[in-house]
Symmetry: C2
Amino acid sequence: MGVVIPLGENKNKQASVKPLVDLTSSGMDRVNQLILSKAGSDVQMIPEVANHLISSGGKRLRPMLTLASAAMFGYQGDSDVKLATSVEFMHTATLLHDDVVDESDLRRGKSTARIIWGNQASVLVGDFLLGQAFKMMVEVGSLDALDVLATAASVIAEGEVLQLSVAKNMETTEDDYLQVIRAKTAALFAAASEVGPIIANADRAGRNALKSYGMNLGLAFQLVDDVLDYGGKAADLGKNVGDDFREGKITLPVILAYRRGTQEERQFWRDAIEGGETDAAQLEKALGLISKYGSLGDTIQRALHYGTIARDALAPLPESAWKDALLEVIDFCVARIN
Amino acid sequence: MGVVIPLGENKNKQASVKPLVDLTSSGMDRVNQLILSKAGSDVQMIPEVANHLISSGGKRLRPMLTLASAAMFGYQGDSDVKLATSVEFMHTATLLHDDVVDESDLRRGKSTARIIWGNQASVLVGDFLLGQAFKMMVEVGSLDALDVLATAASVIAEGEVLQLSVAKNMETTEDDYLQVIRAKTAALFAAASEVGPIIANADRAGRNALKSYGMNLGLAFQLVDDVLDYGGKAADLGKNVGDDFREGKITLPVILAYRRGTQEERQFWRDAIEGGETDAAQLEKALGLISKYGSLGDTIQRALHYGTIARDALAPLPESAWKDALLEVIDFCVARIN
């Protein structure tokens, strides 16, 4: 999809997550060791299921956010590694449960755990990882960090239930949709970023800056993900164009095309999303309507809007390599489109 | 099943949970209010699903243990109510996830949430309640109590996965089985009882006494539950005789009958539990073999053994109405058989 993206301050180079990866590499080595150790159990199925997902090539953006947001405020210690690992476990637990809830067969191009080990193992290993995440947070001993992460756990689950309630309902508004992605995606980005300044004993302004950065980065990230589902290539994504369509998921590209469409086009969307008519021909038509109404470009505009808020959230903080790396991640998230 | 049960010190009266219910009644009123409030959400499906299970008539034994074990050490304050509610939410979340894992249709005589709202809602509302439980624990602010309960959450999930791995395997030993029930049932009883002395600032001996009491009470409780499945009445239990048999669950009555059986009888158990041949005639035969080898009576003997350990755990503590009520609960748990 030839969408032209105006990038923030990095117009002339390809924005990359590499500066963040480089800066956090020694911390992430320790996170990866801790992941392996805490996903271990004498019950053999637990490391099998956990490692299947953990080793499947996610970017580990969330734990990097925790490490960077602590380092930015001069944190010295090892609680950042424990909290970063907790954040990744919360994310992994959510993915395991999501696959059961969505009845997904593929994630990042591999069979999901529920296909290999069954729904039962996915539910229970998710619960185990959540328990391990809380144990690590307790070891860190910061009640403020615990509060932020426990609240995120509730909010994420609440957002997933909300998504169930709006599922396959074409009258879902952009606001409903935003409420869902704020809870199910952005809340963990926000918590991952806020616990850094907390353990570094930053002031309230620093905490709020990173929380706002994470929240808005998460919104931009999810919006772009939803665009990619209608415009990316399976090889890049580990999923196929139109997965969301076939699952009847309502995302912003669909909401915009529906609301801007004719009576007849709206009927098409209802038959597809609510009625399950989602074969190849229907997908072709859906892509045509999404293109006709500029839904992908406008969804990207929304992502850029939140990206700008994330950028401004960090503006008052002193310049540093950490800050630059976090700013570049905003552009990277949107630049994934190309 | 005419099994004669020698009760501990209450040989001449019917042991009852009533003293514990009476002593904790004002605290439990506050627990019940907090349950309703913390299971609330703007996402309508959450209170619907949560209240379906919460209002379905469980005894709320676990939160009563928390209230009593705090009161026993002179606790004054409201953290006991928050922790008791957290414990009940952890239990409810486990039940919601268990019903999905076991594909159960009935619990306490009512359709399970997954039958009414689907597996998806059961998984996600369970996650929400777990998040709310952790938020309440964080409000209490005791890192020791958080540690005990977060550890219990991990252990419970680990035990459930272990149960999956031994499922439908007739070579499961009594030790394997004990490891499962220790994790999936007794760990939460132990944690519920240990957090009381923690918030009351009791000494290490007091904590350990209540932890041991809870752990052994939980083992006795689960063993009796497993006996009831082969000997109780559906009206008392909200489930039918033989549910475990039909689900191919391996419990101690089955383990004992299998290990004590002839070659031909062992083949029968393998066909039933591993092969799924569990119709009415097979259940009849299973009940006959369980009776032939005295498996129910011997399972009850095991329960009495753990009950005695629970009793001795409390022995060094000063006499009080609270202590008497907790001791009577041990006998009550076993006396449910009649």
